[in-house]
Symmetry: D2
Subunit: 373 residues, 4 copies
Amino acid sequence: MDVLIVGGGIIGSSIAFEVAKRGASVVVIERGELAQEASSAAAGMLGAHSEFSADHPLIPLALASQAAFPAVIAELRELTNIEVGWNESGMLKLATTAEEYGELTEHYEFWRRIQPQHVRWLTPKEVVDIERNVRNEYGAMYTIDQQVDAKQLSLAFTHGAMAKGARFLPYTEVYDFIFDGERVVGVKTTSGTLYAERIIIACGAWTPMLAEKLRLSLHMYPVKGECVSVTTETSLLQATVFAKNGCYIVPKANNRLVIGASAIAHSFTKTVQASSVHHLLARAMQIVPAIAHSTFEKAWAGIRPQTKDGIPYIGAHPQYENVFVVTGHYRNGILLSAITGRVVSDMLEEKDVPFHMTPFSLTREGEGHALRH
Amino acid sequence: MDVLIVGGGIIGSSIAFEVAKRGASVVVIERGELAQEASSAAAGMLGAHSEFSADHPLIPLALASQAAFPAVIAELRELTNIEVGWNESGMLKLATTAEEYGELTEHYEFWRRIQPQHVRWLTPKEVVDIERNVRNEYGAMYTIDQQVDAKQLSLAFTHGAMAKGARFLPYTEVYDFIFDGERVVGVKTTSGTLYAERIIIACGAWTPMLAEKLRLSLHMYPVKGECVSVTTETSLLQATVFAKNGCYIVPKANNRLVIGASAIAHSFTKTVQASSVHHLLARAMQIVPAIAHSTFEKAWAGIRPQTKDGIPYIGAHPQYENVFVVTGHYRNGILLSAITGRVVSDMLEEKDVPFHMTPFSLTREGEGHALRH
Amino acid sequence: MDVLIVGGGIIGSSIAFEVAKRGASVVVIERGELAQEASSAAAGMLGAHSEFSADHPLIPLALASQAAFPAVIAELRELTNIEVGWNESGMLKLATTAEEYGELTEHYEFWRRIQPQHVRWLTPKEVVDIERNVRNEYGAMYTIDQQVDAKQLSLAFTHGAMAKGARFLPYTEVYDFIFDGERVVGVKTTSGTLYAERIIIACGAWTPMLAEKLRLSLHMYPVKGECVSVTTETSLLQATVFAKNGCYIVPKANNRLVIGASAIAHSFTKTVQASSVHHLLARAMQIVPAIAHSTFEKAWAGIRPQTKDGIPYIGAHPQYENVFVVTGHYRNGILLSAITGRVVSDMLEEKDVPFHMTPFSLTREGEGHALRH
Amino acid sequence: MDVLIVGGGIIGSSIAFEVAKRGASVVVIERGELAQEASSAAAGMLGAHSEFSADHPLIPLALASQAAFPAVIAELRELTNIEVGWNESGMLKLATTAEEYGELTEHYEFWRRIQPQHVRWLTPKEVVDIERNVRNEYGAMYTIDQQVDAKQLSLAFTHGAMAKGARFLPYTEVYDFIFDGERVVGVKTTSGTLYAERIIIACGAWTPMLAEKLRLSLHMYPVKGECVSVTTETSLLQATVFAKNGCYIVPKANNRLVIGASAIAHSFTKTVQASSVHHLLARAMQIVPAIAHSTFEKAWAGIRPQTKDGIPYIGAHPQYENVFVVTGHYRNGILLSAITGRVVSDMLEEKDVPFHMTPFSLTREGEGHALRH
């Protein structure tokens, strides 16, 4: 086998899709079901603009991924017939306090310099003119932000990769590696031993434990994100509405709204706290008062991988050069899925990657990533 | 057939159980599944004390029913092997505002006169000594209040009645009656026509529509009650905690807490409003702060039958004397289930009922219940 | 109000959609949630060809409805953004016994005369060439048969009607009519009294009970249909496969197969019999052996309205001319949804209906439909 | 900490319960939720007699555990108030073919020698006299076999251990051990590093992967067991009915029957095959024909740990003497839960264990268990 990918979430699947398209033989190993965990729990914003208000190494990848989405979605639909609920209705960032107003101004100014044609400042009246159910506060509209059903997109990458010849082994767990000098030549799994030319570790928040077996300390931790959803009789929103203090409201098909998300660091527990349900609903009703009359649907949680410096790990193992680690996307995993497969495939083929990848190195300077001796 | 009961909730089933025990042949018709609607949605308090703070016609029945429960539970367990989660851990009423303090004093004084041995006034310190997770406020403990799993108790009555020979026809709907002069001799149902000596209408909030076909106007309306449940790692409460403004917290098996309930009049819609989830959690966290860290489980709603004067209907039809109506128990249906079957069976057998039943008459004075001409 | 529709399933909603489009004010009353019962339980075949092998009054409507679907789907998507999973992958009818071979020949010959361009006879080898997972038996392919997700289509009609101004009252029950001489001027409901110029009864299998109140005996009965679904790792089928003895296999999105359906007459009970699950899986594994290795998903049931002569009721009440009854579509309700709204709207407007509607009359000759005196 | 247990299923929890009772400080680490996997999927037979028809090292433990159950259940109920659905209605083994008749005779003779007072041979007529819904075949009744709700019993051990002071860390994963010469002094987990005097590995089918990190090869494999459940209107069975070819029918509360179980070796996949649902229902309807009319409820799977020689591993690590492994109970984990905690606690305290434990040694002779070098 050419490439073995550990992790059947959206990152592993999107890499499998691209690698298989380029003709390599691929196997993906997943310890549970495919497209679970953070990949299915995400609210599905493809918000290249929502996360950054200053220069950041991820911005070029985020913009490139967002731009790539329409074509990727079309390609996946053609291959799999899976509907992923994609649309490009934009994101409305809102300021509900003086402090948020300051931050929004800064955010708006930052993006106005980069993409003036896609950003628009809004007075409270203009906010209500555009989204009549939103509270009248100052806002900024980022017109090209998109969104998808994250679970369906993850499944589309999975089935798209299958259509291109990739094989998936769900309910299979890697518990050790097979070494041959300076190379890792295979993995021991609960479905038997597998050998491969190249191995990619893309296990989200569970990556560090596997990396330990390769004598690599990753400075990562899990961040639980909790969401609730409600349904309404008529459509309340067109755009995603994003306020500070962990509150965004994403309008989905069938008059459904996803309200996210808490950020509870260092928890692998997929339970939802009562206080989080309370807080998310309170914030949502403050921003869109009509949500008070909506029908409560459900609450859930996902465990997202965060790194100490907030930059994903995308790169080769410093010692075992045929092993790659791709993780740490935190809240940007869905957004980056369209480009990650291409970047990693370029690395595998030793092509030039059209992005500056040094900041994503596994041994970048700073607070850690030390190889253990 | 001797007796035909329309309605397979806890009231219809408890009547079927007693009637069958006394040797009559019984058929129960239910348009959906058995033991659904309000019977399965209730929090399951058997709180004879919680609902009343002044004289009320229901008090004698409530106390008698509460006293009857231990024996009824034992009998049903013997017959059906169904566990109903009964316990007698008491009810702690709490005052969180000055207004509630006044009401609690009145409530306590009322019950102290009736059952001094079962009531105890508590200082904030005493409240916390008894229930260490409850906020330190003045309270009163009603030591003999009990609780059950309402759904399981409803099923136990259903299966207990089956064990005594009653037949149940679920998914069967009555759409008309068969008259013979001044008697109703049968019903037309979606499972065919059935004839009976006596007919009992016990359809909860859906009773008025059927009563109309018997030219009887009942002054009733539905009141939706919404609940949420949470689970905790360790037990937070022993007693049920009851505060004003529609908030009670009922500790169930497996460290589960049921938090209820809203009261939305005139709604048959079994959806849960987002604002209700928010409000119930807010109140619960205020009274038992550790609930903030509990795990959210789910939310649900039930439709309870309320009468205009707040007194159930239990009695014979003014014109068709072999027809009886038993409904309108609002929040007291589970509590009254142990005694209702006996009272109604006595009526059917033309025995003396050991309670003053005039206030429950279908044609009692006041604002309605007029027979249509 | 111009038009009041009782019944919020796919028939009621499709009528509401068309009536609202033509400018009338419409209210739809539904006693439970919208788009439930048979409308959400159906497998979603739009098989104009699968049901008939001889002349039948429904054939012109079925073909017209099937032809109308692509445009209707597009219109609903534009209005509601709801994906209904429509595709036009055809239907493969299979003969697994000598008796079925005879029937298939007859069926094929019948349709070859009507639509030679859309029918193709297949040898066992050709069957396997087209659908490699199907057992090698003689078959016939009906190339233009379509399918949808029935529940989503029903919701699309509901929300499409809302977009055109129709109002829906879920959890509202009609329990009586208001008469004024030879007209029905309104209905009494659990949400209050409503008046309308015209009233349409479209309550599926529950229609006869309401019709009784209008002194109309409909010769109808419920037929429970049970289905199971399975999922597979790779796609097993493109076309719907239809064999005799109540077995069809409908390929859905995400490698899901719906296997239907039993036909249990005179049952309103929405439970699934163990023997039906057993039988459906046995037949499916016989026809598509690889289903043995599929993952079992779930089982469910719907209650379909059937008439004694197998022809739906679509027409005016013989006495109350402003009341219309539209029901009895049995297994063809989803298929006929695209045309039913138009036909009924034409009737309401007293336009010429472009179909021969006498066979659908409520008082047609034969075994019943007598007006009661 | 005195004792650290890896694995929060019924084995780990029952050890935690006993160890905590004896006064040691205990922490249990579980990578998912507590009481999941095989512990919650089991049908809950406590059938000391059903599994063996010849001498086997497990028989003394099985009989002792069965005898201990009534007292353990009472103790857990007292501590936790959790109902576990225990009863002692016996097991009816049935022979439906000539081959099974021979095996049943052998089985009966074996147990008649050991416990003549608890075994009874039954003619077909006697079978039907005792269980009137069972097919008239030869049978044998093992009168003291018991059963529980496996999931509830597992939770009762968990919460019983908590009540005795044990701490549980759900959603926590062990990914490495900390060594100090010939001792393992702690574990690295996703919730941080933990140190303990003694460490017990009780991870069911997932144990071998962890054992590998301690240089121990366990000859084990997973065996998936699939079950279905149905409900009936009246009780069909009193005793558990056990026929060959993987079919047992266990009567539960509320007229529910659990039908199990397939045995699919080498699968960690918790999906249920369509063919298994088909096969389980077919066998159940053959043995208890009235099951054909029962209501299908659901299907599920659990992954059970099996060893190569069929004997569990219960013993100390050959090299790291403060590490113990307890796993491989296959279909006997629930049955053995009442005694396993005591046996392991005795081992930890270096007391004499009142059973012959050599056959359970991790390094027993035969086909493996070799320590890796």
